[in-house]
Subunit: 341 residues, 4 copies
């Protein structure tokens, strides 16, 4: 870690700061220039708070030179993590999975019909919302416990592992038969929830928050991993920018950056990012080309109920076409493993 | 609500969409132009999901014309809400309160010393963190239950009501003696927590999330209010932008916009927004001039431990100077009530 | 266009506003609700300023229902525009072009060597900066006139058309032998420059500004087209967000949105967007998969001078590998035209 | 400047990089750790391009420790710059000025009437647009040369200095009688224009671009100052964020940050930032309390033409009320100089 001190820092203040660093067990290297003094800190600086340092009146800037994440850091774990979701499905390390299903579980027939349709189209994991985070208290909040039961039954009937979102640690008992627990974008920094999930023994998929940096996403993975869970999947689902023609801005360079920084698998959700079904196919193809380990797509089965091709969800036929394109891209770029061909 | 349909929408699709609106109990007005068709919806549209509508393949855009928040909406409650915090302290409707205290409660002596110092300086409410949301699992997470006990004792000793942050509904029992419960920026859309807090019978202060719009802040207030609680205080604490010279960008126009849109009191936190103590005084003065009902400021008492004037926290003397400036601004702008002079 | 009026708008104010609309030749439809009045405007609203309308004290919101761009609008020109760059090179309507070359033209040998290398690798158009927009007045500003001469000579020697950036209309005479004139991101809303370029008779490539919306990019195209030029190429090169691990955030959904909204060709520049050569290959592949009509990549030829693989520029070998990947993706997705195979 | 190298940088690459630094005349200090190597550079690093460095494949991050701006830097010029606008009006160093006038000059009577009205209300400098940067080529582009003549005549008639925006260096001859030349937000990085203006001998007001950092604003000032002009005024006018209830987000902490970093005067424009006249008074008061050296406000004189209190412009009466509030705030905070009382 490097701290640059302000021109007007007194000798006494500098000494007092350096003593404090030394108390924390760090080696302190001081370089004095005419207009500033630079302090280099060597040792375990993960317990130094950069924000606190930056706010000190004598500090002009503080830069963390080593990344604050350890368990998630590729430096310390160069090999890709392969998350074993079920006996037959893995994600990461060259294993690719399409995750598909409806936005919300509505009833037994709907989820089973969609499950069969997406499986035919090429999906390996079934998604479906039971607890729905909604901006408005007046909007439909999901079927809750019943929704989870319907989802896991559809998973069992088709042999597909299932993923669904948790909103509070108090719901954890209901997730016993769920294969991957999803943390939504709005809960990415719900640290109490992350800590609990790290102890639950299941793979956790964490969606990037709408205004969270890639580093913060990795720090949230670190929370889960520090609880013992090593099977964390990261998910890019769009960030908030000034652009209004798309609901959010899908940040595909995030995929390439995460590939460098971490050994954890990376999934992309183009449905929520764009908010429009007609933008999902090109973005799914681009996500595959950028090197994603999985793509998560909303699919519905009832064009009438879902209203004229429906929102951000694809029809099963559209999904099958996207799945074929994604496979073609991966094959063209030689990303496929033998078993996937 | 107004929906603009795409040029290529078929007559059948338009009819199917209109039927769906009518099923929801809405009056539907259709205007056809050469290049688009506009549908106006009159009635209770709060249950129509704009995002869903925008995503439909035949819809070019959908605009909510009536605000989706009701309980928080000044249209339906023109009078300012005055939150009665204790027998002696109110916020809103012309009642102004300075809220001050340390970032974290560290020990009994510290919190009591700071409490007395900020009270002398002009604070009416004591703040102090017991459960700390930290980006890194390796950072100090607060004293928890013990911290709350120390804070409420310091409040009792000085006669000041206290405010502190909750991170999970499971902690609610520990907050029995807390006067205002704070929801942090990262939990602003932790909807399960908001619902629980709406039933707890205490005033709730909600901090705006780093990437949340003013409308979303009002919708989060709506969650709390729909649970029965009417004593909600809104807090602007900086939003995330591309600027790097400040930790976040304090959005003071938010104060003026909220004044128009809602009857709820609005508080500003310049300490967390700027992240630097030297920027707190000018921003506190500006917040007062913009019409805030309260200002929340971090104050520490131990210059040595807090390292050379310390981060985003002011010394008690600096706080007293800011408090005097804030009062001067309010008096100059005739914002003061008789009892406050 | 639709305007929603505030609850407290008086009858007289509403009448005065409607009269003003009628003076502008618009049909005015008024719908009164309990809490608001909605005004629908039919006719040519392109001369109504939405910002002005929104700012009126009686107006709650104003929404433009028809797009303010006309010449660039796909609604009025459903067929893709094919920009004929030279006898042999076209962009758009299924014609794809790789554009490559160094960040700056440095000397005759350098630009000719890189030109030959990128041509071998698969580039069809040669790029190279002569006038460089630099944030600091102390940074290298480019070779200027001499740089343009070296670039056009290298183009002639290899038979490749060339593209380079203009910074001021006063430089236009120097661009006589340049095939495509580039408007940089920082000049995207230099409206005087856009007007002049619309009259110069050459294809114009406009880069999206760092904080400009897709709509604003189309409006800048509209400026050029209103001057008579129909050969406008749009270029996505990353937008400014809060993320710091990449220089800018490449917005690939912009490609898919532009495809819908306009008939003009769309090019992606992953080099400037990411700022790091190791992120260019995955983003170039993703851009191809998203449907870009061209990709613009920085390539250097002198690993020593360019310092250890160099910044955002690829080596010629790395470029050739990316070009092969891009072609493989396009072939896999059946995007290639017969002549390109 | 500090560069952190990647773990996999070879000894040869590190040496080659260090040699390159030494060629640039810098002292190089290397510290090796287990997972990274840190290079500290001492000397004049202003010619090293941070972006280029960051993009090198062996570089993990590069941080400029000394600011790249010199002429504008308070470190080297601790005293406030006072810009002498005319014999009677100064800005900076405790001298405060209200700048007011219409968005556009419309005709002789209009500009003279508004000039007299704002002068009565307390304005010291007259503003009025003649060349208008408009997003759409179909919108009114200003009266041009005739507008400048009307503005300067109104200035002469009232004895007020005038300010108006330039859009291209080719217009410079028309600005002979203009007292302050304004560079608009969209031209903040039109570097050719900035260079020309640095040689014109007049005070220059630079508006911050919608997505430009404070550092970039200072670098644009540096461009003008490197041409010889020392009379630069900086203007905060709102930045682009995700918030939609205001046109832009006024960043008032920018005022406090600039006060620390530079000796140049700082002006705030709440009219363009908020886009709504009802938000101008609270934001003008807040700007004064934050320590601005001037405030720029749009005022119109014709309620009928300007449509029901009009957009972002105030009536003369509203302006006079704001001016009184601003003066009250400055007096309460003892910001006034003797001559201003």
């Amino acid at each position: 870690m490097i701290a640059v001190l302000r021109q007007d820092a007194t000798q006494e203040q500098i000494e007092s700061l350096c003593d404090w660093f030394r108390e924390k067990g760090l080696d302190v290297h001081i370089s004095r220039g005419k207009y500033q003094t630079i302090i280099g800190l060597i040792g375990d600086t993960s317990r130094i708070d950069t924000d606190l340092l930056c706010g000190l009146s004598i500090v002009e800037s503080a830069t963390r030179v080593s990344e604050p994440y350890k368990s998630a850091n590729r430096k310390f774990h160069p090999e890709d993590t392969v998350v074993q979701v079920s006996d037959t499905v893995s994600i990461g390390g060259g294993h690719f999975a399409l995750i598909a299903g409806p936005c919300s579980v509505e009833n037994e027939e709907q989820i089973l019909t969609v499950a069969r349709a997406v499986q035919r189209g090429g999906a390996k994991i079934l998604r479906g919302g039971a607890f729905k985070p909604r901006t408005s208290p007046y909007d439909f909040q999901g079927l809750g416990e019943a929704g989870i039961r319907m989802l896991t039954e559809a998973g069992r009937a088709t042999g597909m592992p299932v993923i669904t979102e948790i909103m509070s640690a108090s719901q954890l008992d209901l997730f016993a038969d769920v294969d991957i627990i999803q943390v939504g974008a709005r809960n990415m920094q719900n640290f109490d929830l992350l800590k609990e999930l790290g102890r639950c023994g299941k793979p956790i998929l964490i969606k990037r928050g709408l205004a969270n940096t890639i580093k913060e996403l990795l720090m949230s993975a670190e929370y889960v991993m520090s609880g013992g869970c090593q099977d964390v999947i990261l998910c890019e689902r769009g960030i908030r920018t000034f652009e209004t023609y798309t609901r959010n801005t899908l940040d595909l360079s995030c995929v390439a950056v995460l590939r460098e920084r971490t050994h954890l698998p990376v999934v992309v959700d183009p449905s929520h990012a764009t908010g429009a079904s007609r933008l999902v196919p090109p973005m799914a193809r681009a996500a595959a080309a950028a090197g994603a380990d999985g793509i998560m797509i909303e699919v519905h089965n009832d064009p009438a109920a879902a209203l004229c091709d429906g929102a951000q969800a694809l029809t099963p036929d559209q999904f099958a076409a996207v799945a074929a394109d994604v496979q073609a891209v991966r094959r063209a770029l030689k990303m496929e493993r033998d078993e996937d061909r």
